[in-house]
């Protein structure tokens, strides 16, 4: 479900910075359905990858074989990402907060963490440079606190709180940042006026109260709340039979 919702966000011809796991599934689903000209860029250096197997890591050899270009990582980050060529970046995170900040660094304090997470990787610069960033994460109060323990990838809160896209621009961030969060129950979007994540659309059978119960701040709603269409039969067949037959990333 999350994979097909994410796939529909992608526009044909866009250049996507692909993370591993669900984003990779979503991108390949989009390529197989409405967006055959999607250009997949991996931070490992594969551009226009067309993997014949589901890549297990972002540096999988299947991303190289048959891709359009393979370049060094200095080129990926300077000539492609910082150059402004990435239309969509995908990020996940252990915590996403009210302002759309994402934490993949530590739970607890940085100096004495309860849980040490992997860190930024390319996430900080993706959230800064991609024209827009899509976040994929499962809803839970722990994952959606009022304020993340550590800002790895910047949302819309600005350095000292306060909100709105303006503060991103003031800070010199070229991209729009995390504009949409695709969860397992609903889609959240950033409200342009407040810079706050708000409820934008519900999955079938889900109520707004189900979402609010799993979010650590008083979640506002869009005035017109959308309904997310369930995956089509084609989408389900592609995901289950073609893209992830071993169910590495799909859960049912």
């Amino acid at each position: 479900m999350m994979a097909s919702v994410a796939a529909r966000e992608l526009v044909d011809g866009e250049v996507v910075f692909v993370g591993i796991g669900l984003p990779n599934l979503a991108c390949n689903l989009a390529r197989a359905t409405h967006a055959p000209h999607l250009v997949l860029v991996y931070e490992s250096g594969a551009v226009g990858a067309a993997p014949v197997r589901l890549p297990v890591s972002i540096g999988d050899p299947a991303l190289v074989t048959g891709s359009l270009m393979v370049c060094g990582m200095a080129d990926v980050f300077q000539l492609i990402l910082q150059n402004g060529r990435i239309g969509v970046g995908f990020l996940g995170g252990a915590q996403i907060d009210r302002s759309g900040n994402i934490n993949t660094t530590v739970i607890g304090t940085y100096e004495r963490p309860t849980v040490r997470l992997p860190g930024s990787g390319g996430a900080a610069e993706i959230a800064i440079h991609a024209r827009r960033t899509l976040v994929v994460a499962k809803l839970s109060p722990r994952a959606f606190p009022e304020r993340v323990d550590f800002i790895t990838s910047p949302g819309h809160g600005g350095a000292g709180g306060g909100g709105g896209g303006a503060s991103r621009r003031q800070l010199g961030m070229p991209g729009a940042g995390p504009v949409k969060v695709i969860t397992d129950k609903a889609v959240l979007e950033v409200d342009e006026a407040t810079g706050e994540l708000v409820l934008a659309a519900l999955y079938p059978g889900v109520e707004a109260s189900d979402v609010r119960a799993r979010v650590g701040w008083p979640l506002q709603c869009r005035s017109r709340l959308g309904r997310v269409e369930p995956p089509t039969a084609t989408e389900l067949r592609l995901l289950r039979d073609v893209l992830d037959p071993e169910r590495r990333y799909l859960q049912g």
């Binding site: 490992s44 297990v56 540096g59 060094g72 990582m73 980050f77 940085y110 849980v115 390319g122 610069e125």
Partner: protein, 298 residues
């Protein structure tokens, strides 16, 4: 031309800043194991993605400090020796210095160009500069805008795994290139470890594939399957099963010690390691997918 044992003995010293690079591809596990066998101490280990090899070196007590940007087991989970050290759970303490990938790439780029810093448009709105005072800023002399900077990284030694080189160290790589070139040029010493030693004529037949010229290489070592469980495009696939298995091994301190005792300290060299894994070739050897050549004539 030397052995890995001699190259490590000669170019890796206690207290050195050491880089074993490779982004998923061409990570020289053979060299990491040899460093553990030679019991090097107080190393500052630098790498974008510490991966299993640095987790093993941290567990073995080689590292004083880690400089990195993403410390996980890709697609699987955590590096538990690293986590224990950072979470203060009884492992040897480990100092960390943390960037993002772009920051680490830029550090190597500055080091390779022998500039003291590298400018990048990054880190605004993040907490990284708060915990890493080496992320600083510079003002553009044309526009007046402020840009982030990272300092040059100039390791004492980089160990570069590659598909092939000649005896002089002229080294060719294809597939993912990571920051192998920048790391090599940034370093005081370079050890190249290759799947295959080739005649100089092979290198000269396709000079655009050469990533590292022999003039910056101090030692050339031939070590087939030296990157396993990482991979070498065109030679063998990544051993994803081992990456999955590492989750359980590294989570359990004793299992990790047993692993090191059996597969690292308990073998004399890479050949002995491979003798213990006779199934690898059948499982992981690359299929043939040769590209056509191009014309260098005039």
């Amino acid at each position: 031309m030397t052995t890995l044992r001699d190259a490590v003995a000669r170019f890796v010293h206690d207290g050195d800043t050491v880089v074993i690079e490779g982004f998923t591809h061409l990570i020289c596990f053979a060299a990491g194991h040899e460093i553990i066998r030679q019991d090097r101490r107080d190393l500052t280990l630098c790498r974008l993605t510490p991966d299993l090899i640095y987790d093993q070196m941290i567990a073995a007590g080689c590292a004083r400090k880690l400089v990195f940007s993403w410390a996980g087991n890709p697609g699987v989970g955590s590096l538990h020796a690293f986590r224990r050290a950072v979470e203060g759970k009884g492992a040897p303490p480990l100092e960390i210095e943390e960037y993002s990938h772009f920051g680490m790439v830029a550090r190597f780029a500055a080091g390779a160009a022998r500039l003291p810093f590298w400018p990048l448009r990054n880190y605004m709105g993040t907490d990284l500069p708060r915990v890493n005072p080496r992320i600083r800023h510079v003002t553009c002399p044309y526009t007046g805008e402020t840009l982030a900077t990272v300092p040059a990284l100039n390791p004492d030694v980089s160990i570069i795994h590659a598909q092939r080189a000649d005896a002089q160290g002229n080294t060719q790589i294809w597939g993912l290139l990571g920051v192998q070139k920048e790391a090599a040029f940034a370093s005081a010493h370079v050890i190249v470890v290759v799947e295959e030693l080739v005649d100089e004529a092979v290198i000269r037949a396709d000079p655009n594939r050469t990533v590292i010229p022999g003039m910056i290489v101090d030692a050339v070592v031939v070590e087939p399957w030296g990157a396993h469980p990482s991979y070498a495009q065109g030679y063998y696939d990544r051993d994803n099963d081992f990456y999955v298995a590492w989750e359980a091994i590294s989570r359990d301190r004793e299992a990790l010690e047993r692993y090191l005792d059996e597969f690292v300290r308990g073998v004399s060299d890479r050949a002995a390691y491979l003798d213990k894994r006779p199934e690898l070739a059948a499982r992981l050897k690359a299929k043939a997918r040769y590209c056509p050549g191009v014309n260098y004539g005039f």
